[in-house]
Symmetry: C2
Amino acid sequence: MSVKKRGERSFVYDGYISVYESAAVGGRMESAGKFARYFDYSLPDALWGETSFEKTEKKMFKYVVDRVLSKAGCKKDDVDVLIGGDLLNQIVSSGYAARDLELAFLGVYGACSTMSQSLLMGGMLVDGGFCDRVICATCSHFAAAERQFRYPLELGTPKTPVSQNTATAAGAIMLVNGKFEGRPNLVSCTVGRAIDGNITDANNMGAAMAPAAAETILTHLQDMCLACDHYDLIVTGDLGTFGSELLLEMCEKCALDISNIHFDCGAQMYEGMCNINCGASGCGCGASVLSGYILQRLKDRELKRVLFVATGALLSPTVVQQGESIPSIAHAVSIELL
Amino acid sequence: MSVKKRGERSFVYDGYISVYESAAVGGRMESAGKFARYFDYSLPDALWGETSFEKTEKKMFKYVVDRVLSKAGCKKDDVDVLIGGDLLNQIVSSGYAARDLELAFLGVYGACSTMSQSLLMGGMLVDGGFCDRVICATCSHFAAAERQFRYPLELGTPKTPVSQNTATAAGAIMLVNGKFEGRPNLVSCTVGRAIDGNITDANNMGAAMAPAAAETILTHLQDMCLACDHYDLIVTGDLGTFGSELLLEMCEKCALDISNIHFDCGAQMYEGMCNINCGASGCGCGASVLSGYILQRLKDRELKRVLFVATGALLSPTVVQQGESIPSIAHAVSIELL
């Protein structure tokens, strides 16, 4: 077995990889929620001065990358690679933003798991001696995602009770080779497998993704020989309230009780608001909450060890129309104060 | 600068990474061409017993991964990570194949550059001490790609003179940590940038991708301090005949003559056939020719040093309809007999 592999699908980073700086933006609705004060910027409306939702999404991606650069006091030339993706067909927001940013770019597709996938890969590039500075970024936009994956908003299609609202949000995190006082570090990761819970309803993402989250969390703890109380928080990206319930049930069946330390970004993003069904989803959801709220709590030393497990539903409208169910994947990275 | 980085965007692998085994399949039309005898299997028709082109594409992806495992004498458990992607929305062939294969999966999206992106990342995971065995795979299917990116075949839309035919093909390559007699090795790589040549015609992929290929080849040679005669062959994925002409012109303008060593998989795949316009495209094109023909020539010692530069057009029909041009990206990996 390779020196940094543990168990079935987990890996440790040998050196110090600092989660050096981060930036987040949120849409108007997201900015009415409890994570708003951790956003670097709140969009004034759904278009933010652009002529299409896709262009707005690209602008959000660019904004968080530019913002993380300026917060870290870096120039673009200091960054070795940008890793990222988004939900839109052909990861178009990231691709066009990467063109404008003129950075070396590795595009990934992990649906809503994009941020944890980018972070775990970025960590490998830094720890492997290839990069000193990597930026991981992702974004999603409610209106752009709805018309691609479900129905255009103009149709006024009612939402089902288990549906979630794709968050209009983006997050970017800069990883830097080395240890820096007060900044958390990437410690280990678990690469996900595509897991199928036989869900065929494109409005029930929580149920589609919960099995992948449970499987990755269990594999991570087993591979790393950790009890779950090693972590102060196990953060899932966007299971929503229904998916979170399912996750806890599935873990319980495997004799794992994470109910005290589980935190789902999607379930909490719109807490207290009306008509939000099961909460938020989208790769910008977990990314913006991690980049804002969670990392701030780590910097404030209110949290010391967090496992970030973003889950992605590998949903394709074409293939679902052909009768396929929706597999999901969850990648995990542990972020700790050392 | 990190120890393995060279120049602007290139990286060297410190240890030995063997391009250990490979497998390729081709569609019926591809199997009438000169690379057919290097395919492990030729599809009997466009559906290969499936009920949709998307399902056929998934079957091809699974087939090449299973085939590379059996040729290498490995079990699935021996493989640390599967890296791959495809052209279909939400990289659906790869995602569903990964579900069935039950392997740890990192999905990437680089359009037709997927194979070189997967190889360069796989190399980093091996060289960084994370993995001993990685499989990189990708696929494309003519009929599935046409109806997604352009028009369904049922419309009978005529092709333009500069158009290319998405190859129905797949390729998989297993990278193994270590040096093995007679097998080529990954030596270095260059991560691409998204480059925009202001092409807005979804039927002119060659022109969209040529600037990215030229920029990555020039950057690679400059970063690595190499003259182009270091390589016996510079292999591009699917520029086609028109895109290849543009590439040579662009290189010439930068005082680089690669005309004697340039080889484009797309331009040659249908050589001698009628009505093929500018040749083949699609991420399966470069992947199947590399996995079959090129790697065989390396094993036969007819070639010693090859630079594989697959190019991807980051084409989204939605955004192109909104007036955007089509950026492209080219990633390079050097494969050498040591």
